[in-house]
Amino acid sequence: MEESLSVQSELMKSFSGVVGNIRVPRPRRIFAQVPYDRFAEVFENIVERMGFSILCAITALDGGAFIEIIYHLARPSGVVLNLSTSVPKDRPVVKTISGRFPAADLYEREMVDLMGVQVEGLPPGNRYPLPDDWPAGQYPLRKDWKRPETATPDKANQEQRHV
C-alpha cells in the first residue's frame, strides 16, 4: 500500500493540475486520468522515470460522446497504474505507443478494429482481429453498434429449436 500511495503523491506533485482523479482503491492499484493533449508527456514520464515499464493491456471504452482509452502500466514490483485518457468520438485519433512497447501493436490494432480509434504511426501489417472483408465503419464494441441482420447459422438454429 505504501508504494501505491507514494506513487500517488508523486503523481500529484509532478503533474498537479494535469493528472487528475488519482485513486488507490486497493494495494497495488492506482487509477488516474489525464487529458489527451498532455498524455504523451505524462506517459513518457511514467514509463521512463517512474519505472512503469510493463504494458499489461490497453482498454478502449465507449463513453458516449468520447472514447476513453486506458493504458494499464505495471512496475515489476506489481503496482499497476491505470492511466486513462479520452478522445472525442467524432475524431478519435491517438498516437501509437508501439515504438516503446512493440507488444502494443496488437492491442492498438484491436482498438482500431473494434472501437474505431485511429492510431497514428502504426507500422504496416495485417489487421486484427476482424476479417479482411469486414465492412468499413462498423465498430462492434461501440455501444451504438447494431448487429447487421444476416443469415448467420445461429439464426437458422434458432428457428429449428422447437422442431
Binding site: N157, Q158, Q160, R161, H162, V163
Partner: protein, 148 residues
C-alpha cells in the same frame, strides 16, 4: 548424461503392460459423483420462479406453466453448456445435474429434453391440453412466449 533412446527401458516396459486406453464404448467410465451432465427436472418441486431461465448463460432452459402450480421444463441440449448454474440458482432444488454424458443424437430434434409433470396429476387449464411425456406426439410450440 546425454544419450539417444533415453526412453527405451520405459517404452519396452509399457509394451508388456496393459494399455492405458479405455475401450470406450465397450467399457464405460462412471463419471464422478458431482459430475455436471444432463439435467433432470423434478416437477413437484418447481415453483415457477424462473430464476434458472434468468441465469442460464446459454438461454437453453424454459419453464412452461402447464396448469396451476404445475410446470414443465424444456432444455435444448444442443445449447446447454452443462454449467449447472440453474441447479445452483434454483431455490427449491427442482433441477439436478446427472452423470449422464452420452447425449449425442443423429438428429437435432432429438437433442431436446422435455420433462413434464405426471399427466394424471395435472388439472387441465382452460387454455391448454395436458401434455404427454412423448416429445414426438406433441405439437411443436415453436418459440412461444415462456409461459406458453
Amino acid at each position: 548424461m546425454k544419450r539417444p533412446g533415453r526412453m527405451l527401458a520405459e517404452v519396452l516396459r509399457s509394451a508388456l503392460r496393459k494399455p492405458a486406453t479405455v475401450l470406450y464404448p465397450f467399457v464405460k467410465i462412471l463419471m464422478p459423483e458431482h459430475f455436471r451432465g444432463r439435467l433432470h427436472f423434478i416437477p413437484e418441486k418447481c415453483i415457477g420462479c424462473k430464476l434458472c431461465m434468468r441465469d442460464c448463460p446459454a438461454n437453453a432452459i424454459q419453464i412452461i406453466k402447464v396448469a396451476d402450480k404445475q410446470f414443465r421444463c424444456e432444455v435444448d441440449l444442443a445449447r446447454c453448456i452443462y454449467c449447472a448454474q440453474c441447479v445452483d440458482s434454483c431455490p427449491r432444488k427442482a433441477l439436478e445435474a446427472s452423470r449422464e454424458f452420452e447425449l449425442a443424437q443423429l438428429q437435432r430434434k432429438d437433442l431436446f429434453m422435455r420433462e413434464s409433470p405426471d399427466p394424471s396429476k395435472v388439472s387441465a387449464p382452460a387454455s391448454e391440453q395436458p401434455k404427454t411425456e412423448s416429445a414426438k406426439s406433441e405439437p411443436a410450440p415453436a418459440n412461444k412466449p415462456a409461459n406458453g
